[in-house]
């Protein structure tokens, strides 16, 4: 029976959709199979409470690759990114630290805390810019395999080697530090203001079961910094309509290029014939055939659930089993009757249009991690909060608001496991902590949605609820993601590819894995 499609993409998350778009754009017949009734995966907008739209899981856009926005004409397909211009860190002593996008305003505020830090901030920015330039070529390329002698790998390695040599000693030394240090140690070299170090170090631990003092977290800082560097595209911000509109725009592009998208079409397993992936079997038994299959699911789900260990070499299976997920964060989404009133800055000001970060110090974050290390959720979690209705009023009825609280740590492997009661207890810890800074919070809550890593796994299939489809830690990046020698979207099964965040360069609504996977596939079938 001839294949109806050139490619089947399993999973209509943003990476699956990006991959499908690029394949369809190249003239291939593509079918996306999405288990849920709507595409988007973790980039999803939903009216959880009538009239209130939540970005249920991922909630900001920071790393979405500019070339994808360009190539897929996402602006034409409805993507509109609104700026998030500040970060407010309320402090236990009633003061606050604000970071503004305006240089003068930011310097003035930092100088209030430390004149030295106000000055160091600019130099730090220049260095991080240089470091981003140093690392950026790796994000846009398929990682060469250092263990391979294939010409393509050798050329890639040579190119990288030349690139690193071209950095010069100063930048190379700085990069080496960034690759080996903890976020806390790295920031200690630059700043003295606790709230600044706490808030900046948070980007080094987001989504990962690691503390700001864990080695390797400095690099993750940089990974997140890069979203801010490609500033011309203003890709750092809030998608109008919530993060579901990112998926919607990509899906619209995919359809415009001719891809078919089927929702409520859960794949049970990858169809293997003669050692080749030749299609997918849906729940209920329907078989769909294609020349090749691309999985947007995470590596464990792809290889151990959809494929099955019996089709794979033993050591590959072992490596997949060792690939770490350990989801560490949860979400609390609130429908609010009125704005929260922060005691450090009462009233509705510009500070509510940006991010609000509960990260008063590195110690605070490290203590929050301590609890998670031993299997408990943080009593006082780190939080990254946005009030989307302040940026896009259509997210809530007039005068009402939605609040998105990313809260960490909420370990997947909770002592005794996650139950309804533990979920609500975690929700209470989040609200109680935030209410210390915004005392009216509890009285304005109309509806509360608490999401644990277990819920994330259950609802959208991210293993252990890891938001990056696998920890974004140094030992799981670049040519090691997800498995050494298999970091190039291909798998040990011919005809089966991966395109999710579990592959290089990782997560963060970046879209890069989807694009790079598509480019690899197009090369293979050319």
């Amino acid at each position: 029976m001839p294949a109806a499609y050139d490619a089947i993409v399993i999973g209509g998350g943003h990476n699956g959709l990006v991959c499908a778009s690029y394949l369809a754009r190249a003239g291939r017949r593509v079918l996306v199979l999405e288990r849920r009734e709507r595409v988007g995966g973790a980039a999803l907008s939903e009216q959880v409470f009538p009239g209130f739209t939540f970005s249920v899981y991922s909630y900001v856009v920071s790393l979405l690759r500019p070339e994808i926005i360009r190539d897929l004409e996402l602006a034409r397909h409805g993507l509109h990114i609104l700026p998030l211009e500040s970060t407010l860190t309320p402090l236990p002593n009633g003061d606050y630290l604000a970071q503004w996008s305006d240089h003068d305003q930011n310097r003035r505020e930092l100088a209030r805390h430390s004149l030295r830090d106000a000055e160091a901030y600019d130099e730090f920015g220049v260095l991080m810019h240089e470091m981003s330039r140093a690392v950026k070529p790796m994000l846009g390329m398929t990682p060469p395999d250092p263990g391979s002698l294939a010409p393509r790998d050798l050329i890639g390695l040579a190119r990288l080697g030349a690139h690193f040599r071209s950095l010069g000693a100063r930048k190379f030394n700085a990069l080496s530090k960034l690759l080996t240090m903890s976020a806390a140690d790295y920031l200690d070299e630059w700043f003295e203001t606790e709230a600044l170090k706490g808030t900046k170090s948070a980007s080094g631990i987001i989504g990962t079961l690691a503390g700001p003092r864990s080695p390797g977290t400095a690099y993750v800082l940089l990974h997140h910094y890069m979203g801010e560097i490609d500033g011309v595209f203003r890709a750092w911000g809030f998608a109008r309509g919530g993060n579901g509109s990112v998926s919607a725009a990509i899906a619209s592009a995919a359809r415009a290029f001719g891809a078919d998208i089927r929702t409520s079409a859960p794949v049970e397993r990858v169809l293997i014939e003669g050692g080749r992936a030749v299609g997918a079997v849906l729940h209920g038994g329907e078989e769909v055939r294609a020349r090749l299959v691309v999985s947007g699911a995470d590596p464990r789900r792809t290889f151990l659930n959809l494929l099955g260990a019996e089709h794979l070499p033993g050591e590959f299976v072992e490596a997949i089993r060792r690939f770490r997920f350990r989801g560490a964060s949860g979400k609390v989404n609130l429908a609010l009757d009125a704005l929260p009133e922060f005691s450090c800055l009462p009233g509705a000001g510009p500070h509510l249009r940006g991010a609000i970060s509960v990260s008063p110090s590195v110690d605070y974050l490290e203590r929050a991690y301590d609890e998670a290390k031993y299997g408990e959720f943080s009593r006082r979690p780190y939080m990254d909060i946005v009030i989307p209705s302040m940026i896009d009023p259509a997210m809530a009825p007039p005068g009402k608001h939605v609040m998105s609280i990313f809260a960490q740590y909420a370990p997947y492997h909770l002592n005794g496991g996650w139950t309804d009661a533990r979920r609500e207890a975690f929700g209470d810890a989040v609200i109680d902590t935030l209410a210390e800074y915004a005392p009216n919070l509890k009285s304005v809550i109309l509806h509360r949605q608490v999401i644990t890593p277990a819920d994330i796994e259950h609802a959208i299939g991210l293993t252990e609820g890891n938001i990056f489809q696998g920890e974004l830690s140094l030992q799981q990046m670049f040519f090691l993601r997800p498995v050494p020698a298999w970091a190039k979207y291909r798998t040990p099964v011919s005809g089966l590819y991966q395109c999710g965040s579990g592959t290089h360069p990782g997560g963060g609504v970046m879209g890069a894995p989807g694009r790079l996977a598509a480019l690899t596939i197009l090369r293979d079938i050319a």
Binding site: W100, D102, D104, R108, R116, V126
Partner: protein, 398 residues
């Protein structure tokens, strides 16, 4: 407080005067671009009477202690150690690669007390270089107000108010004084290349001093003046401006954006005889091989400009205010440099610019071409390399 921008200690006076509502930012403060609807009269006041500038946004540091001189001598390229009390030094300072970080003045207020001005914040740089030295560094930017009174009538106005004889105050010297009982220090310095003074005082007395100066100065034609007028005057005086004519090595993203003091025509400020200072080794090497670039004056030739306009049926159009942009300079079709600021000098009746030129093309008298846009089309007009400053009146130093 969410106030985004700062106002200077003179804001209560400058705000109502600023009928143009043309404000601009300077180091996080708002200052007037021009007070009147056009900056023209303000500019002419600099050259014919006296212009009063609010220069409070400058960063100011008080450096004191047994090793204060040693610290500043280590940071600056000039010989601070041997400065006399009351002497003001204009100086750049560099990073270890000998690239300019900033430029400003250092004045020796006492044997062990200095005040330094800077365009950018430099507290961290001073502190880091002062490790192990007995020197205290205090950022006095906010509590020190500053005015510049510039122009031929400046001395007469100040003398009316001062408790001491100012005629003895030499160029780049400073003296403590009282102006109608307000304690100040007065330096014979400025950014206009004219006879002029800068007055430093406690911010608490700022408004009182402003009122006193304006009251006494009115009969001499004193005029509050904004940044547009100042910009034109400083170009005529051949004085460079950070972020416009050069990029601080601190902010440069690539090596090509940095400049050495030699490349900025500041050879005279680099004292290679000093035992040690930041960037010395790199500067010694550069001194031996010579800089690759020069910072010079350029004069656009009137006839060439007029011809371009005549060709399209127009009279020559001149920039109404100083421009700040990178404008290519060519020699025989090849780009050999770029101008960074320029404008029409109403006093000299010349179209002038400050430019960076490759060594070979930097000798005075060299004829180049500068890009000018005439009726939407890029053209080139002959331009001649000339010595800076364009304007250097005797009264500046006399």
């Amino acid at each position: 407080m969410l106030g985004a921008l700062k106002t200077t200690p003179f804001h209560a006076r400058t705000a109502p005067l600023c009928v143009s509502h043309a404000w601009r930012r300077w180091a996080g403060y708002v200052v007037a671009s021009s007070y009147e609807l056009s900056h023209e009269r303000e500019y002419h006041a600099i050259r014919s009477a006296a212009a009063l500038f609010d220069i409070s946004p400058l960063y100011k540091y008080l450096v004191s202690g047994r090793d204060a001189a040693q610290l500043l001598d280590r940071v600056m390229t000039r010989d601070v150690a041997h400065a006399q009390v009351g002497q003001v030094l204009y100086t750049p300072w560099c990073d270890a690669a000998g690239k300019v970080l900033d430029d400003g003045t250092v004045v020796r207020l006492g044997e062990d007390v200095f005040r330094m001005t800077a365009a950018d914040p430099n507290l961290r740089w001073l502190e880091d270089n002062g490790a192990g030295l007995d020197a205290e560094i205090e950022d006095v930017s906010e509590r020190t107000a500053a005015l510049a009174l510039q122009g031929p009538a400046a001395r007469m106005i100040l003398q009316q108010l001062a408790d001491s004889d100012l005629s003895a105050l030499g160029f780049f010297r400073l003296v403590p004084a009282r102006l109608r009982d307000i304690p100040v220090t007065i330096s014979r310095t400025g950014y206009t290349g004219d006879l002029g003074y800068e007055i430093w005082l406690d911010a608490a007395h700022a408004v009182a001093l402003w009122d006193t100066l304006v009251e006494t100065g009115t009969s001499y034609g004193i005029m509050p003046a904004g940044m547009l007028a100042l910009d034109l005057a400083r170009i005529e005086a051949g004085l460079m401006l950070i972020d416009v004519d050069y990029v601080s090595a601190r902010r440069a993203l690539i090596g090509a954006q940095t400049s050495s003091p030699f490349e900025l025509d500041l050879r005279w400020t680099v004292n290679l005889e000093k035992p040690n200072f930041v960037g010395k080794r790199a500067l010694e090497e550069e001194a031996a091989r010579g800089p690759a670039w020069q910072f010079t004056g350029v004069e656009i030739e009137w006839n060439a400009l007029e011809r371009l306009y005549t060709d399209v049926g127009l009279a020559p159009r001149l920039p109404v205010a100083a421009w700040r942009a990178s404008v290519p300079l060519y020699s025989g079709g090849e780009q050999v440099g770029y101008a960074t600021s320029g404008g029409w000098s109403p006093l000299l009746k010349k179209y002038i610019a400050l430019a960076h030129l490759g060594n070979r093309w930097a000798a005075p008298g060299t004829v180049l071409e500068m890009e000018v846009t005439v009726e939407h089309r890029r053209q080139r007009a002959a331009a001649k390399v000339v010595k800076k400053p364009f304007f250097n009146p005797e009264r500046k130093r006399a």
